[in-house]
Symmetry: C2
Subunit: 237 residues, 2 copies
DNA sequence: TAAATAGTGTCTATGAGACATTATGTA
DNA sequence: TACATAATGTCTCATAGACACTATTTA
């Protein structure tokens, strides 16, 4: 098809205005028995001094050959840059794309939102990085009282709705506990995310089904507590 | 905050390269007892002459004040332009955003995919429009043999996965039948979308639950067939 | 009357919710 | 021994799948 080749080589992108494209991250973990989201304090206008989701612009190449980074790669890069976390050890998935006109006062910005689940044993290692002055894990239940930049409140809201739904029919809770965990510990994760405690007996029943299905296995040792120790489990593979 | 005002008025978008942003539509309906997707034949390079999803670029304003159309509006506009369908009468929802580098050979294009469900009684009115030479409803089961432009095959695949999942816990099947319908008709929709026939008795049981919940009501008249006529229903509100 | 399909009923397996009970560790 | 909590068991109810059966229309 030299016809097409000729077309491509002669092609000049028409100069219609284009939006900026960003990725924003709803990074969640559990600390002190509370579901928390990572926010960064903005050092620049607009919304200077307000809390916002970590994120940044997608790197786009100039040419048709070199087009820049994939969206997923941009999300992983921002995660790495702004938190220092290893993207390989964090659950990361696209959430929704927010692109209303006027959502950024500077210019048209379309943002592809992702949500990430960080194991609580990794959360303490998060450190401020990139062009960020301050980073903090906020209890999601206090966000109502907090003014977030842009439409980031909506984005967090959708992320919470999403993970609550997915908790019921996927394995994502496994990304909110350490590598090994007890049944009550996993049960608490469900309770915290869903906002209501789970029945111990009924939860154990589901848990045992997962065991039989081979998604979990018992790990050596016991978890020592102030009363009866609990058996320890881990995810298979 | 005159500080912020001053910033905004002096702000000049940095001249990093930006991607083009498009919307693509997976428009589905049921014709002749088959789930079908609307494809258009491309008249221009790249992929000239191949079938593709209808779609187009999002209109973006030049200034910070006039930023152009919302993503959802762009999807509705394209739906209207390329099919002639009234967006008010079609179910339309964002699906996923595809933005791999290189997915368009001309330049970096990030496309926000939507899926639409068209009632079969409206489907025949679809007409070629916009910059499209040909429009056709394809049985989704023959798409394997068809070479689609760009990554549109992946997009259709994801749309099908999505609606099959949503069929189980939402009302979207209601957007794939005419305004009034019989129980067997709605049952066939489920069978067609899911790819396996539903048991008449069990389906009727679910249907009756929806009736009791007030999501449906009986409509006057009967559907005349070649054997026993069936009662006719419609959605409430 | 036969064919076709609308519509009903039944049996069983499964899973969720509520809750009582037992087991095993620590203080 | 008292206490805390891990772990087990039981009862009930809602729902899904498989499938037998009845009802009502047309040809």
């Amino acid at each position: 098809m030299s016809d097409e080749k000729a077309f491509l080589s002669s092609y000049r992108a028409k100069d219609y205005p284009r939006p900026s494209v960003a990725v924003d991250l709803v990074i969640l973990t559990i600390i002190d028995a509370q579901l928390r989201v990572l926010l960064v304090k903005r050092r620049e206008h607009p919304f200077k001094g307000q809390w916002a989701l970590p994120g940044g612009f997608v790197r786009v190449g100039e040419s048709a050959i070199e087009q820049g980074e994939d969206l997923d790669d941009a999300a992983r890069r921002e995660l790495q840059e702004e938190t220092g976390l290893d993207p390989e050890r964090v659950f990361l998935e696209q959430l929704y794309t927010f692109g209303k006109a006027g959502r950024d006062p500077r210019m048209r910005v379309v943002t592809v939102a992702y949500y990430a689940l960080v194991r609580p044993d990794l959360a303490p290692f998060v450190k401020a990085g990139g062009d960020v002055s301050d980073v903090e894990w906020f209890d999601v239940s206090v966000l109502d009282k907090l003014e977030l930049a842009f439409d980031h409140h909506d984005i967090v809201e959708m992320a919470l709705t999403r993970i609550r739904g997915k908790l019921e029919y996927t394995n994502i809770a496994f990304d909110l506990v350490p590598a090994t965990f007890t049944i009550p510990e996993l049960r608490h994760v469900y309770g915290i995310v869903l906002g209501k405690p789970m029945d111990p007996g009924n939860f154990r029943r589901s848990f045992n089904r997962w065991l039989e299905e081979g998604r979990l296995e018992q790990a050596p040792g016991k978890r020592i507590t102030t009363s009866k120790p609990a058996a320890v489990y881990r995810f298979k593979r």
